[in-house]
Amino acid sequence: MVAIKLIPHILSWVGIVLILLRGFPERKRVVAVAVGAGFALGVAGTFFLFRSFPGDFSFSLIRDVVGGSFLLLWGIAVASIYRSTVRNFPLSWGERFFASIFFAGVGAFMSGMIAGAISVCRLGTSGGMLMLLILVLVACVLVFESLAIERLLPPSFTVSNSALMAGVVALLLFSSSSILRLDLFSPLSMKVMKFTHDFVHQFFESMLIPDHLFIHIHLWRYIGLLFGKEVGFWGGLIIWFAPAILIALAISFERLPSVAHIRQGAQRRTVVATAIRARRFRLVVPGITILVLAGAGYQSRFPAVEYWDPKPIVISAGPSGEIVIPLKGEVDLKDGKLHKYLFSQGGKEARFFVLMTPTGQLTVDLDACAICKPDGYGQTEGTVLCYYCKTLIPLETVGKPGGCNPVPIHFTEKKDGVYIDGLTLINTWSTTVQTTARVKEGSK
């Protein structure tokens, strides 16, 4: 079972080691040692991190490191496209740094460390030190295996510096996207959706463009598309794939060697053909990178996780207009699971849930947030997930307002149960749903 869980990580690990070995052909030994040592340190470091900070902090930290490597890849991609399209672009210091033994060692070490940390996030610390020790041993064996496999690859298969970076980061993203709490694509889509909404709004304001009141409805519907979640998804895809595509383009745009000094036409053609063939081989890794990123995006979009999503229990208020939910009745409110309820009053309905957070606090929240359509939440792996935008909200922060967090509802906890004012609940639901519906319809 553990081995099956680790399949994406093992595949990523072998891929990372192979790319690193081929990317630094002169420094294979340094790379092999550094990447193995990095993995071991990553495993040990993450183990102690989880022991010290068992909550969401450790996951956030590792996710931010993976996100940072993606940002770095963006920088490299932009630099490489400039390098191949702009004459005399000042990057020689960067190329010298890339070629140095220092970069080979540090780059391999960091890659190993992140890969090790991600693997521990998958396994958890419940297996103890022995399990992690086995993990490190397996990783080291795979390094030796990769050394053997690398020798079988054709010598013409070369990896450019930027493609090396793209390949390694894509494999780390693939590895992390199989763990819901390390996934980057869904939060990225959400941020893109928010950015697009804010940008369009600011653009209209700045350019003094009239409000929807004055504009044709059919035209406004097109503008409204910019406010939908599809924009987040497609925009996220562009940002996700762009570095690999830019790097592939940079390789395609690389200048062929000057053959003007060669006076035999056949020799000229041979030199050019050889350069074109070598360039095509250098495109293999960016091509694989695009496939790996697609796999990571797919894992993020369709995670192999089951959500706890109970059917809402229909509930009504007493004569005083107060809803009372017993702490232990049909359901146990303090079992750490999300319990959904449906309340109706005056032809209006409100969906909400009660949850005991890991800190031992009961919280009552709408089954909706202040920014998305009210598709509701499901519970999984220490988080609740917004079905609309796929954002994960750590259980520790449920009950706090803001962002995509469920909208908290005021309640009173007494010995016999939880007391909620029915009117407040209905009004909060109506206000929230009206606001989010207006946003989705594209109103400014």
Binding site: Q202, S206, M207, F214, H261
Partner: protein
């Protein structure tokens, strides 16, 4: 000092500056995203208030302004080189440079290149050849467009001021900068435009008493140096309210943001626990009350949190019950308008126009008439040859290499003749 100036010049001129600055702002954006959900607005606010961020942003228009000049000079130099008007060929101007240990007067080469469709110019020991149209005009328009875009964003971010005013029919048209004449008429009617569905016009008598100014929706009109930006429509309601505790009554003019029909706005009766919530009734014939001027108002009277009564009455009508009386003496159209001083807007629009023109020029030229150039210079015992192409580079390189072969062949021929 010289070193410092050189660094400043390098930053201003370098093509690495824009991606560096944009990358920097991206990082700041990502950093702010950890703190707040309103990331873009926060970034704009920080850029406006922080000298460092403003200076960083200013690097972008400065860089493009410098590049506009430098690239124009570079193009003119290049043109002089290819037209064989100068001997100063700087390194990096061409894609390929080669030296042949052969001499020639280039007569044969000139006719060969002309036969291939190149235009040529030969002056004492030098031959320039070119074909196609340079994309330089598109490039310059693009750089000018980027300069205007960033300059516009910078100016807009740092100098924009906004003042919101309710423009009411029959009242003075005024902002903090001064007053104009009376707002004679506000009309709101369907429009047959491609983009705008409704046409709004505010007719204002000139303060001199002669003629009138008309302010519409788009493009925004200027009033005393500020753009007039209509935001929302509303109704200015003159009403009189009396209650058992307020026998003297309360009369006021209240600008209400209650358009379109159904939208609610509240007016508080000062010194009392009463609040009135108004909305405009949508007529059964589906006409627009704002356009026709036939207005009926729904209202809710609240005392604290309690609903006292609800009802409706037309413009000029009144509602009386249980000692309460509400009379709608008059209602006037109003437009909530922003007076905006922002000259960056013009630059941003101008940049858009330049981008469109540049694109329209670039695409056909790049596809159908890409520029390619060659230069051959004869020295005492050798020939220097240079080549560059803006498109279809492989084909041009083939011609260039053939031309070099031709020159080399002459030496071989001469050698065999001498031999």
């Amino acid at each position: 000092m010289k070193r410092l100036l050189r660094i400043i010049w390098a930053i201003l001129f370098s093509r690495a500056t824009p991606p560096f600055v944009i990358g920097f702002f991206l990082l700041v954006y990502v950093g702010i995203a950890f703190i707040t959900d309103e990331t873009l607005i926060a970034l704009m606010r920080y850029t406006r208030t922080s000298f460092f961020l403003t200076a960083m942003l200013a690097l972008l228009p400065l860089n493009f302004a410098v590049r506009l000049v430098v690239e124009t000079i570079g193009y003119l130099k290049m043109r002089r080189v290819v037209m064989v008007s100068t001997e100063d060929v700087q390194p990096g101007l061409f894609d390929e440079t080669v030296e042949l240990t052969v001499t020639s007067s280039f007569e044969q080469l000139q006719s060969h290149l002309e036969a291939l469709g190149y235009k040529t110019r030969r002056i004492a020991g030098a031959l320039g050849a070119w074909r196609g149209i340079s994309i330089f005009p598109a490039r310059i328009l693009f750089i000018a467009g980027v300069f205007l875009l960033y300059a516009g964003i910078l100016i807009s971010l740092t100098t924009r001021t906004s003042e919101r005013v309710a423009i009411v029919e029959g009242e003075k048209f005024s902002s903090s900068t001064g007053e104009s004449g009376i707002v004679e008429r506000i009309t709101f009617e369907p429009s047959s435009g491609l983009i705008l569905a409704k046409k709004l016009s505010m007719e204002v008598a000139a303060s001199s008493g002669k003629g009138k100014n008309v302010f519409g929706v788009y493009p925004p009109s200027l009033y005393q140096g500020a753009f007039v930006y209509p935001r929302y429509l509303g109704i200015g309601l003159f009403f009189n309210f009396t209650a058992p505790e307020l026998p003297a009554g309360y009369e006021t003019f209240s600008p209400l943001n209650i358009y379109p029909p159904g939208k609610e706005a509240t007016s508080v009766i000062p010194g009392s626990p009463y609040r009135l919530v108004f909305s405009l009734v949508g007529p059964d014939d589906e006409t627009d009350p704002y356009t026709t001027g036939r207005m009926n108002f729904n209202f809710k009277l609240l005392k604290g949190k309690d609903l006292v009564l609800t009802g409706s009455a037309p413009r000029g009508g009144e509602f009386v019950r249980d000692g309460y009386r509400l009379a709608f003496r008059d209602s006037r159209r109003l437009v909530i308008t922003d007076f905006i001083r922002d000259y960056g807007v013009l630059m941003i629009w101008a940049s858009g126009i330049l981008f469109v023109i540049a694109g329209c020029f670039w695409l056909p030229v790049r596809i159908f008439f890409p520029r390619s150039e060659m230069l051959f210079r004869s020295g005492p015992d050798r020939i220097q040859a240079f080549s560059r192409a803006e498109g279809r580079g492989r084909k041009h390189e083939g011609v260039f290499h053939e031309a070099l072969d031709l020159l080399e062949m002459r030496r071989t021929d001469r050698k065999s003749f001498e031999g």
